[in-house]
């Protein structure tokens, strides 16, 4: 089980790789679309990368509810096995 900090930093790595977001900018309150300029296609790529990294699949309907970095961290934390 990854800790909250590990999930946060792992997600930041994914965001940097996929969308060029600087790790320091990937703070929990940030909105993917509004603050970090991550578009819907990149969100799908991020979901795939999350599944690879944490073994947590994010179904499409759940992806629509994830708007901030913090939302994603919570979702991963709750759903990791």
């Amino acid at each position: 089980m990854a800790t909250t900090e590990e999930i946060q930093s792992g997600l930041a790595e994914i965001l940097e790789e996929v969308a060029g977001v600087l790790p320091a900018d990937a703070t929990p309150e940030k909105s993917f679309t509004e603050d970090l300029d991550v578009d819907s296609l990149s969100m799908v790529e991020i979901a795939t990368a999350v599944e690879d990294k944490f073994g947590v699949a994010i179904p499409d309907d759940e992806l629509a509810n994830i708007s901030t970095v913090g939302d994603a961290v919570s979702f991963i934390e709750k759903n990791q096995s």
Partner: protein, 407 residues
């Protein structure tokens, strides 16, 4: 009708990462052709290719590059160079259009994602697959870069696509739909499937033991083209618009001619009758006589049938007075980019008053039509050039001829 002028050039080719290095290499007679050493190539009958001299992804922001197919990356780099070269024209976006032709579009993405689909299933396919594989991807990439709102277009006409892009760009300005157009072609599809397909058509050279001599237009020993990759884009402007902003003018795009063989899907009509038609239409459009044309940058892919048909076309439209060159002997065949890159070489020939030499013509074809042409072989030739023609032909019977005149 107002003149249409060329104010910017951009290219990335097997000879260089920009126009200046590609042109310098061409005048030196350097070859961009090499042996493909990837493991997958071992089974290929044809293993000679003309790969880009400069890796495009290394010159694009990493995150942007991963969202672009290679054919879009080369289009972007050529567009940036051409736009900067034109001085970054200040034009109303609603008067700015883009036309970038391609033969196959994002083939590498389509094939790569098909591998992902086969190996890992549909949920692993990249969400970027469609925007990266669509044939209008290169033109849309350029449109986004320059913020063109007067239309972004994509002629898909195989190896004539780059020239058709320039011809359509001219039409847009003439029709009053744009003042400035970024026009040309882009291609990047060096991959086992296109290579196997072309090989099965016996269209590609199998001179694997001597790559630099594999592309040999008009030579008796030619045995097919060498697959290349690249992009060429030019900035076209309504002359009044260019002059009003004090733009440097390379040349005038004086005319274009477009025809189709409607003869066979892939074989050229053997006499080159309709390729000749395209050239004659271009001359008429430009208001020039055959004797005015000092130079032809020929399509000359190094295929046995194509080069002879083209020789016939040039003879019957322009005659034997023009200095003809086949620059694919050095660049290989960049398919949908070739016509645009060769248009750039034609423009630079007019600027520098020099005709690049055709390489590897050791033993000129015996056909009387080839023998009758004034083919510049080996070293470049100084010449007094007022007007020059670039012709391009593509599978599907497409014929496009462009006429440029010195600025």
């Amino acid at each position: 009708m107002s003149d249409i002028v060329v104010t910017g050039l951009g290219a990335t080719t097997p000879l260089g990462g920009d126009v200046a290095s590609s042109w310098a290499a061409l005048l030196e007679g350097r070859s961009g052709v090499s042996l493909l050493t990837d493991e997958w190539a071992e089974q290929m009958p044809a293993r000679v290719i003309a790969a880009l001299a400069v890796e495009p992804s290394e010159h694009i922001d990493r995150v942007k590059a991963r969202r672009l197919d290679r054919c879009q990356q080369v289009a972007l780099l050529a567009a940036r160079e051409a736009w900067a070269d034109a001085g970054g024209p200040e034009v109303d976006p609603e008067r700015l259009a883009v036309v970038v032709g391609t033969g196959v579009g994002g083939a590498l993405t389509m094939l790569g994602q098909d591998d992902v689909l086969e190996q890992s299933g549909p949920t692993r396919v990249s969400p970027l697959t469609i925007p990266m594989l669509m044939p209008n991807g290169p033109s849309a990439t350029v449109g986004l870069e320059v913020h063109a709102r007067a239309g972004v277009h994509t002629p898909v006409s195989a190896c004539a696509a780059g020239s058709e892009g320039i011809s359509l760009g001219m039409d847009l300005i003439r029709a009053g739909r744009a003042d400035v157009v970024v026009a040309g072609g882009a291609e990047a599809c060096i991959h086992p499937l296109p290579m196997a397909g072309f090989s099965r058509m016996r269209a590609m050279s199998t001179r694997n033991d001597d790559p630099e001599r594999a592309s040999r237009p008009f030579d008796k020993g030619r045995d097919g083209f060498v697959l290349g990759e690249g992009a060429g884009l030019i900035v076209l402007e309504r002359a009044e618009f260019a002059r009003a902003r004090g733009a440097r003018i390379y040349a005038v795009l004086a005319g274009a001619g477009v025809s189709n063989d409607s003869f066979d899907m892939v074989q050229p009509q053997p006499e080159g009758s309709f390729a000749s038609l395209a050239i004659r239409l271009a001359l008429r459009d430009a208001g020039l006589e055959p004797g005015d044309i000092g130079h032809v940058n020929a399509h000359a892919t190094s295929t046995p049938v194509g080069d002879v048909a083209e020789a016939g076309a040039i003879l019957s439209s322009i005659g034997d007075g023009a200095a003809v060159t086949g620059t694919k002997s050095m660049t290989g065949h960049m398919l949908g980019a070739s016509g645009a890159v060769e248009a750039i070489f034609t423009i630079l020939a007019l600027r520098d008053q020099v005709v690049p030499g055709t390489q590897n013509v050791d033993d000129l074809d015996d056909d009387p039509r080839v023998q009758a042409l004034d083919i510049v072989r080996g070293s470049p030739r100084k010449a007094t050039l007022r007007a020059a023609v670039n012709d391009s032909f593509g599978f599907g019977g497409h014929n496009v001829a462009l006429v440029f005149t010195a600025a």
